[in-house]
Symmetry: C2
Subunit: 687 residues, 2 copies
């Protein structure tokens, strides 16, 4: 049989693979997604959603579902031994620092979120957007790359053999008695991939040729192993073993519905994560099974052992349960790969290229962060809209995050597994150190503090020193020929995510989180902070910019069009209606946020049509102009103040399809505008 | 064949029938729901959701879905002719008065909401809650009531013949070409019920005996007609005909995304309702087809006619469209029945007992309001938890609302159809009158101002005069032996809905709209405003009350238990977990809102167990105690201030299962507590 052809083959349908599939569905890329397991997760596994992840979900129209079903983990309590050796509450405070995001850290079972992602992938299908189905019980068994054609964008250089597993193979025994063997899927479990590949009797296989292959296949990644030399994971393991229980607790411990970090005097540490549906996740250090020789006696690890350990740590409080949902155990270690891609044709993402301990609720978030970063680049390259060299920025940007993650986790895990000083003589010193580390790490943990380094995608500020903060220095990488102007939007730093502030629609006075007006649909966005356009001069500036944008960036001759998918839309309704017209919009979308009073401006009459584009089937677009003003029911967003923009001057903030700031430049004058042209020129193929 | 038996038979699966079915599903009542049509609505029909309706949806866990998909209609503009005869904007302001509710008026196609209701009905099934399926293409053809046993609660006195229609009968020709005949379902259309009943060839019929039958079968209600004498609708029709278009408009009219009331100099009036998915609904007066003789030439009414009329009214602005979703026309009239039930065995609800014009977005809301009022009463009587005489309050309460609605609509329609004075010589007088009528009606229109009169369910304040406001006087009705104390909670008036304020959970610091902690699950709620319980004396008072409640109201010997259904829960998670235990809770639920600082109180240690009830499978309940205080991320709710409760004194507010206040009494002392006992004693069967 002839090999079939596909643009993108995704191996693994966990959170990383599904996030990537969602981008492919939104962009209309011919994609296959395979996973060797027969079904998705229904209990346990990852559960923590960080602010930035919730913002990303919201950009796909599913943030509110997660937000509504999840437990919002608002407080963290630190407990440690008092003079009498008994634990006592040492400190209690907000778990997520206020004003970082409209979300806070939340907890929901991974499988629910996978369902939401899959439903959204399906709902994005249209005549121009092929339906992507998740193919279960399918795994790759061979992979080869034809290096002679990796630079030919029309070639399908990667050939993969896909094996369709039997139901029995795809459903390991452990799965049938999940609760009995909680170590299934733990990093203490055996990997069955080799065994599955070795079984060649009566198998059904097919060959697929792909332009791109992405390994989202977890810590035992077969794709990574197949890439061989140069793709080894580097790092270390400790001999600290931790157990995890998901239970509905029956306890008199007062802070059971807060996140708790508990250090006992003698029995090690414990973490409490309050979850949805009355569940609580309990992490306990299992000193009994940590042999100190790096070897672990797995047979000793049972839910009963974890419960007994938790009871000792919590004493004199009691702990019991009737319902247990899941349990597992794992060994702490931090490992990261040097290389995230080969020839920009094969990519690795998520656990396949970085692993660490789960307690800071990072794994699923950073994994989805990887493919959220990769997806739009890969999709737009497949559509021949984006220059292929932009794919280099995936490794540049996400390896930086992986390394920050590993460094954070290394420090945090050791602090947490270590024995604290009691606070008999004042404050326990290591406890304070721990709290301080926790506080410092907030910006990284929540994901909102991420700052990608300068590249083709992120235009350096004119005074940039390359210092990324926290001792990190930017790597050498090809740079955009455009430069950002410092000081125009002081809280909009290039490389950081464009934060959301509340603004009000000019057309109907509805308050909006501005981020919701920038859905993940593959478009770049030029956010024009027009300033106080009740001033004739300022209005003229904004309209001159509009005319320039129309002529130089947005006309069909100057910028590529992109077809938008249907499906959930963060802006409400049952989905974007843009697919209802045959007039595809430009890949560059323009939003105007002005600081005049809403009453002083008439949308259609006062503003250049670039701010309310016309479609012959859908009429004028009323959803592009926003006001920084007092709303009828939700107060004043103070957006200019919070973005750090002077209403008398204004600014342009250009944002990547993933919501990160690429360029900040001036509203006034061609010098500023030309930076836009230079930036897009380095990215888009037809500008 | 023997007749089958069912507790409740609901005729009609529109919004009223579905809301009733939802209550039955939540309460676990054996119910059948039949509708003569083959499918649910997919376009057009009702679309306006008022604040109170959204609050009700939220109490079933589906408010956020509607809120997210709908268009929020935030502004209203009034346009009328200027001196030159051309229309101009006369006034623009908020469409929903601020601070009435956490919601504002919103617009979404009726069919979407029916889907949400049906999904929630299905999700409420459990071993104790029979699955309720909507039976389409089924209609009643005979109905008889055995009056000899209407007072025997175990009897099934109503016998109904149900006919299973053929697909062709259930799908009238018009339906196949919905857009061609927009008058299908209009009040200008013929009723086909008699024709369907007359066709007896080859029909399949069954007999059903029901304890209760509810006619939710619309303006042509077969159930009402079958009840005969005493059930006629009374009222009048005008000869004003209005047309309705649902289009994606192509227009330069500046306020097309606001609600607009437009009066032209010569061509009549028009209303604009901006909807979801770029749709706009346009209502225009069709003077051409209003013959003045009460007869209408239906054949003249076409989308083109409505568009032409709208164009004339909007001139000099232009109006066109490519997409049309739906259209219809209707004749203005107001009619209401005198009787809403027969022997408390057969009930009428929604359009079956009151009809009016659609422009104020009331129909669907008041119809669902009817069955939201009826459902819990009927369900709890079926379960033998509530005294059957409480059923009398359905007619008492909802006829009052229907009459208010008719009076409002009569005034509003006439004002709107009338020709306004131009504002050449200052302000047009009838325009001001119109605006004033609109403003005054806000409390009624939004549904949040509804005040049910004193009865068994609503305990009169000691100084009550029977004046219901707006010239209405309370009817004579059996009264509770309990009395409310005026002045304890000055913004919690008996008979009004218990408004929502933001409070914070004691256990985990999460901010909550208090209403979300009072889901529609059939339970009465005692909201204890405990005051500043950091004061030892106040804490003692609250705990004494707790002990009294436990001994006198909540113990299994004193109050009936109720099994809770699974399904969406406004409190998050994937549903209530109460059904996971065999220990059913009391029908009386207790919530504590205190005014001490959260840090000063330890839930389990300081408070009586009635405020954190224990379950042997689920442990302590952490979700019953709330704080009026500063939250980490969402400010201070100022609940005591907004409810009008003095923190030094406190209050008890007892709330019905539908969220309306039944009784306000004192926190301190047995005199106040005994009012609770008296109130519940008049309602519940075993207290």
């Amino acid at each position: 049989m002839e090999p079939s052809k596909v643009d993108v083959l995704i191996v693994g349908a966990g959170p990383a693979g599904l996030m990537l599939s969602l981008w492919m569905a939104k962009l209309g890329i011919k994609t296959r997604v395979v996973d060797k397991r027969t079904g998705k997760i229904v209990s346990g596994q990852a559960d923590g959603f960080q602010c930035r992840t919730l913002e990303i979900f919201d950009s796909f129209g599913i943030g509110q579902k997660v937000w509504q079903e999840s437990n919002h983990m608002l407080e963290v309590s630190f407990w440690n031994p008092g003079e009498d050796g008994k634990i006592r509450r040492h400190h209690r405070g907000p778990n997520t620092q206020p004003n970082l995001s409209r979300f806070t850290e939340s907890v929901l079972q991974q499988g629910r979120v996978e369902s939401f992602l899959i439903d959204t992938i399906r709902a994005s299908a249209s005549p121009k957007h092929p339906l992507i189905e998740i193919e279960r019980s399918v795994m790759p068994t061979t992979l080869s790359i034809d290096e002679s054609c990796v630079n030919d964008e029309d070639a399908y250089p990667v050939e993969v053999t896909l094996r369709h597993l039997t139901e029995e193979e795809a459903t390991p025994t452990q799965r049938l008695s999940n609760l009995q063997d909680g170590l299934y899927r733990s990093n203490l479990a055996e990997d069955d991939t080799e065994k599955l590949i070795a079984n060649t009797s009566g198998v059904r296989e097919e060959k697929v040729q792909a332009k791109y292959v992405v390994g989202c296949d977890g810590a035992h990644s077969w794709v990574r192993k197949t890439l061989g030399e140069g793709f080894e994971m580097k790092g270390e393991s400790t001999d600290a073993i931790w157990g995890v229980l998901d239970i509905i607790p029956i306890t008199d411990f007062p802070d059971i519905r807060s996140r708790c970090m508990i250090h006992s005097a003698e029995f090690g540490a414990m973490m409490v994560i309050p979850r949805e549906n009355k569940l609580v996740r309990v992490y306990t250090q299992l000193k009994e099974v940590s042999t100190g020789t790096g070897r672990v006696d797995r047979s000793q690890i049972t839910p009963e052992l974890i419960l007994q350990t938790a009871r000792k740590i919590l004493s004199p409080y009691t702990l019991d349960y009737h319902y247990i949902d899941w349990w597992t155990a794992y060994q702490i270690g931090q490992r990261v790969g040097d290389r995230f891609s080969k020839h920009n044709r094969i990519f690795l993402a998520g656990d396949a290229v970085h692993t660490h301990s789960p307690k800071a609720g990072q794994g699923m978030n950073v994994s989805m962060g990887d493919t959220y970063n990769l997806g739009w680049k890969l999709g737009l390259v497949c559509k021949k809209l984006l220059r292929p060299e932009v794919l280099d920025t995936y490794e540049l940007e996400r390896r930086q995050i992986a390394r920050q993650l590993i460094a954070f986790d290394h420090k945090f895990s050791r602090l947490f597994s270590g024995r604290p000083a009691t606070d008999g003589s004042g404050e326990g010193s290591s406890m304070s150190e721990f709290q301080e580390a926790f506080r410092e790490a907030q910006l990284f943990i929540t994901g909102v503090g991420i700052r990608y380094q300068p590249s083709l995608l992120v235009c350096k500020e004119n005074d940039d020193t390359g210092d990324l903060g926290g001792g990190l220095q930017a790597e050498t990488a090809p740079q955009s020929s455009a430069a950002s102007t410092a000081g125009l939007a002081t809280n909009c730093r290039p490389g950081t995510r464009f934060a959301s502030q509340k603004v009000m629609a000019q057309s109907d006075a509805r308050p909006w989180e501005l981020q919701l007006q920038m859905p993940s649909d593959g478009r770049f966005r030029i956010v024009v902070f027009g300033g106080d356009i009740s001033q004739a001069k300022q209005l003229a500036t904004v309209n001159e910019l509009g005319a320039w944008l129309q002529a130089n960036l947005l006309s069909p001759a100057k910028s590529p069009r992109i077809s938008l998918a249907p499906g959930p839309d963060p802006r409400g309704g049952s989905g974007s209606s843009q697919w209802m017209t045959d007039q595809d919009p430009s890949i560059v979308d323009v939003l105007l946020v002005h600081a005049a009073s809403r009453e002083q401006i008439e949308l259609l009459q006062d503003l250049h049509p670039v701010y309310h584009p016309f479609d012959k089937k859908l009429g004028w677009d009323y959803g592009k102009v926003f006001v920084d003003g007092q709303t009828h029911h939700e107060g004043h967003g103070r957006a200019y103040e919070r973005y750090g923009v002077d209403p008398a001057r204004g600014a342009i903030v250009a944002v990547r399809p993933d919501g990160y700031i690429g360029l900040v430049t001036a509203l006034q004058g061609e010098d500023g505008w030309k930076q836009l042209q230079a930036w897009f020129g380095g990215l888009l193929r037809s500008v």
